[in-house]
């Protein structure tokens, strides 16, 4: 089951946003198939540093698929070949001896490049700041058991809430749209009674922030769903669209919504 393979990496290198970038080729010999993809990059970086060359910059943190810090487009696909997982969960057992692997950053106008494979995803924060929450201050909450939420709604809200904000949906989309990201939060809160009072404002403001940050429109390519490490369904985009149209019709704050969207 375990073994070693030799691979060739073509990695995007770019000193900073102002400099020109390009691919560099590295040979990685004797890569253990038990290693994760990022551990393989660690080994390549060790080797580069021993040779006095700058290591490849890439974002990562938890290395267990939940923080959303890791990114990478691997052989043209965000988070690598398999779907349903993050780059840090990809293992070298997926590859064969003498494979050539291309590694690029997430590319989008709203994700400016920082260095090599690292991009700035602060535009996601600005979308969340526009309304991706329930406006409740500490201390205002009633007892938790006052609110009854049907199990199927809680489960469906949780399906949407699983988004890790990695940005793969944007990287995969030909329009660099972040609709799946916005949909995940809008859909979560639209299905819960807590989200009711701000239901219209939220979707209008988040979509305005989405467009302002430079993300494109959704044209139903479904590439986002295919790469989403948390398998967030495009059906949430459908709900987002319904929420948006509904809010346009009602106007922000005009209607004190009851719980639960269609």
């Amino acid at each position: 089951m375990t073994g070693t393979i030799d691979i060739t990496l073509k990695v995007w290198r770019q000193k900073d946003a102002a400099s020109a970038g390009g691919f560099e080729t590295y040979e990685a010999k004797g890569v253990s198939t038990e290693m994760s993809f990022l551990e393989m990059l660690d080994v390549v970086n060790e080797d580069l540093q021993k040779k006095g060359r700058d290591p490849i910059a890439f974002d990562h943190d938890c290395r267990e698929g939940i923080c959303g810090m890791c990114s990478l487009v691997i052989d043209g696909r965000a988070h690598g070949p398999d779907g349903g997982q993050t780059t840090c969960q990809l293992h070298m057992r997926r590859y064969k001896n003498n494979d050539v692997i291309t590694v690029e950053p997430f590319r989008a106008k709203a994700f400016p490049l920082v260095r090599d494979l690292v991009v700035d995803r602060c535009s996601f924060d600005s979308i969340m700041q526009a309304g991706g929450y329930v406006s409740v201050s500490t201390g205002q909450a009633p007892d938790a058991s006052v609110l009854l939420i049907p199990k199927h709604k809680a489960d469906s809200a949780m399906d949407a809430a699983a988004c890790i904000g990695c940005g793969a949906c944007v990287a995969a989309c030909p329009n660099a749209s972040a609709m799946l990201f916005v949909a995940a939060k809008v859909s979560q809160l639209a299905q819960l009674p807590q989200g009711g009072p701000e239901r219209e404002r939220r979707v209008l403001n988040m979509m305005a922030a989405h467009d302002e940050a430079g993300f494109g429109a959704c044209s139903n390519e479904y590439e986002c769903e295919a790469v989403c490490p948390k398998d967030i369904s495009v059906s949430h985009i459908a709900r987002l669209n319904r929420e948006y149209l509904r809010a346009l019709a009602l106007g922000p704050g005009e209607h004190q919504a009851a719980s639960g969207a269609g």
Binding site: Q49, C62, R63, Q85, M128, Y133, V136
Partner: protein, 637 residues
């Protein structure tokens, strides 16, 4: 010196209410005159920053990742405790308090733990109001599950992603205040020093990780919410960027470091597979609700686990601890796993693993139910090991997970440096020598949502905080010191990488200050660490410059601080001549191999004072008095 924890007088049930009444208040119009700096935006930091901004303070929050949503709190899986007693199984604030003090092996401060149990119920209310999608039953009510060290079901959860959902709730509250202009949020900033002016914490020096610029931030008070130091072991369940630098630098500026030897080794992690492994992955304790832990009865049994009949399996936790079974606390479960492996019963290619088996639960409730409860965890296991836990038992082994030690704080969460508050895992806190499962999320949020909004006001209202700007001489001195450290690292130009040094350090600390500790081993460690540190400054290779995005430089700075901190960890472990919770000194154990405390000599917090480079730190004590919980030999039999 004896430390004063400023525990309010009166009966334990009334202390917090009385204290909140006694604390001076800052009137609403005056709050906007105060600047508060929050370093770290995980559960403790985000909840504190949001709550303080809601009150009207001007908050600046520094975040090491590119977004607060990525803080390592996000990786907490199993759940959060609260004394709601919704299941009607006999829980109460008193029982959560009692379980936590006992679970911490009687090394926590009673008053703090009681307060934690009290506010636990408000935390759940707050999170539900934020839209955190906790698990619910068909009636629409909140569901609970069990965690180690408790015989009641008091753990609220959102699948295996509870930390994620709670953090996103706090991140939402923080984002709302950013939008209102009450929080200035600065991402990719790393605190590299604390600035103390006239004996008070007045700001920090941080590095902008994108362009390398060294920046100064001044405030009336500083909150450190920067997490634990588990990565001193190199391999741990912590995220790669988790580090000790903020708390260590504050320690060097006068904040006492308490109980660093209290480190938690979590019993259920995916075992180490190879030399280049970069981290260990936790498998939530909640899995022990339905999974059964066992090893073969025969040493070195190489049969596939499913071929080993029940009669030839040793369900050793159920055998040794019949009343708590698989849900004994973490320290007990970890030591039992180590013992089984040390005695030759370990399984898997490295023989450093035991089985966690879902066979019986799958038969009892079916795969659908198991998937619903633990699906994402079992998938994660499958991804990493390439083995399907629905078909073969999981292999697990203990790994470093959490650190109970941290900067010493009083009842107000203030360190020994006035104006420096420490929240969440970064403080030495409420868990004593061992933290119970699902209590870290509770403590982080208790500190941030409910404790600091009251106690910070008390400090500010007491007055005496003069105007200080970033042009003060102390800021220049601290900035110069940071620049000197950066230059020193870049100037070595050696041949070994930071990673190699970190791995060496981790191996040393794990071998001599891990699950079992001895006087001889710790003394050896205390010699080895300074040697390694010396080599580091002669041989480390840090490429690139200071004024650019440079991950190698970031890591080198963190490892440099670990190389200093590790020595204090070893010294604390040496000086605590007893076993308690996660601190297991092999010389001090009962005939049944359980931890043997020495209440006569060690029922105290050890808080270390930095005395200067090359000088021995001073050990101060805070005696612990137990007026409400009777000290006994902890038993889970």
């Amino acid at each position: 010196m004896t430390l004063d924890a400023k525990i309010p007088s009166g009966p334990i049930e009334k202390k917090w209410d009385k204290h909140r009444f006694d604390l001076k208040l800052v009137n609403p119009a005056n709050k906007r005159k105060y600047d508060v700096l929050v370093v770290g935006t995980g559960l403790a930091g985000a909840s504190a920053a949001a709550s303080l901004a809601e009150l009207g303070y001007n908050v600046t929050a520094l975040c090491i990742q590119d977004s607060p949503r990525r803080a390592h709190s996000i990786a907490a899986q199993g759940g959060i405790n609260a004394a709601k007693n919704y299941p009607n199984d006999g829980d109460s604030v008193w029982r959560l308090f009692y379980d936590t003090v006992k679970g911490g092996d009687y090394r926590a401060r009673e008053a703090n733990v009681y307060r934690l149990a009290q506010v636990s119920v408000n935390i759940i209310d707050q999170c539900v109001a934020q839209g955190v999608p906790f698990a619910r039953d068909y009636g629409g009510y909140l569901d609970n599950r069990s965690f180690g060290g408790a015989q009641v079901s008091r753990t609220f959860y959102a699948r295996g992603q509870t930390g994620q959902q709670l953090l996103l709730g706090a991140y939402g509250a923080l984002s709302r205040q950013v939008e209102k202009g009450k929080v200035r949020l600065l991402a990719r900033r790393e605190m590299l020093d604390l600035v103390v002016v006239n004996g008070k914490a007045r700001g920090v020096i941080a590095r902008n990780l994108v362009d390398g610029k060294i920046e100064r931030y001044a405030a009336h008070a500083v909150l450190l919410c920067t997490g634990g130091y588990g990565n001193v072991f190199f391999l741990s369940t912590n995220a790669a960027n988790s580090n000790v630098t903020a708390t260590w630098r504050a320690h060097r500026r006068g904040a006492y470091f308490a109980n660093p030897c209290y480190t938690q080794i979590h019993p259920t992690c995916i075992p180490v597979a190879g030399e280049n492994q970069s981290k260990l992955t936790l498998m939530s304790e909640s899995l022990r609700n339905d999974g059964r832990v066992w090893v073969p009865k025969k040493k070195g049994d190489t049969r596939a686990p499913n071929d080993i009949p029940d009669a030839e399996r040793d369900y050793y936790l159920e055998r040794r601890y019949p009343s708590f079974g698989n849900l004994v606390p973490r320290d007990v479960a970890s030591r039992a796993a180590k013992k089984a492996c040390d005695e030759g019963f370990g399984v898997g290619p490295t023989k450093l693993a035991v089985y966690l088996d879902f066979r019986d639960a799958l038969k009892r409730v079916g795969a659908e139910t198991i998937k619903e409860k633990y699906g994402n965890l079992l998938d994660m296991y499958h991804h990493i090991t390439n083995e399907d836990p629905y078909k073969v038992p999981m292999r697990i082994y203990p790994a470093v997970h959490y650190t109970m030690g941290g900067l010493w704080v009083d009842y107000n969460l203030m360190s020994t440096v006035p104006g420096l508050f420490v929240l969440g895992e970064a403080n030495f806190s409420d868990h004593g020598a061992n933290r119970l499962g699902a209590s870290a999320l509770m403590q982080g949020l208790a500190d941030g949502y409910f404790v600091i909004p009251s106690t910070l006001g008390g400090y500010l209202a007491a007055g005496g905080i003069e105007a200080v700007g970033t042009d003060a001489a102390e800021f220049s001195e601290a900035e110069a010191a940071v620049n000197a450290r950066v230059s020193k690292l870049l100037a070595v130009k050696g041949k070994r990488t930071t990673l190699e040094f970190h791995r060496d350090l981790g191996r040393l600390v794990w071998d001599h200050c891990g699950m079992g500790r001895t006087e001889a081993g710790l003394k050896k460690l205390l010699t080895a660490i300074p040697e390694l540190r010396e080599r580091f400054y002669k041989e480390v290779c840090v490429l690139g410059g200071g004024m650019e995005f440079n991950q190698a430089l970031e890591r080198a700075g963190r490892v440099a601080d670990y190389l200093e901190f590790a020595e204090l960890l070893a010294l604390d472990a040496l000086e605590r001549r007893e076993s308690c919770g996660g601190h297991f000194r092999e010389e001090y154990q009962t005939p049944e191999n359980e931890a043997r405390r020495d209440d006569e000599n060690f029922a105290h917090v050890a808080a270390w004072e930095f005395k200067g480079d090359g000088k021995a730190p001073a050990r101060h004590v805070e005696p612990l008095s137990f007026e409400n919980v009777h000290l006994t030999q902890r038993s889970y039999k």
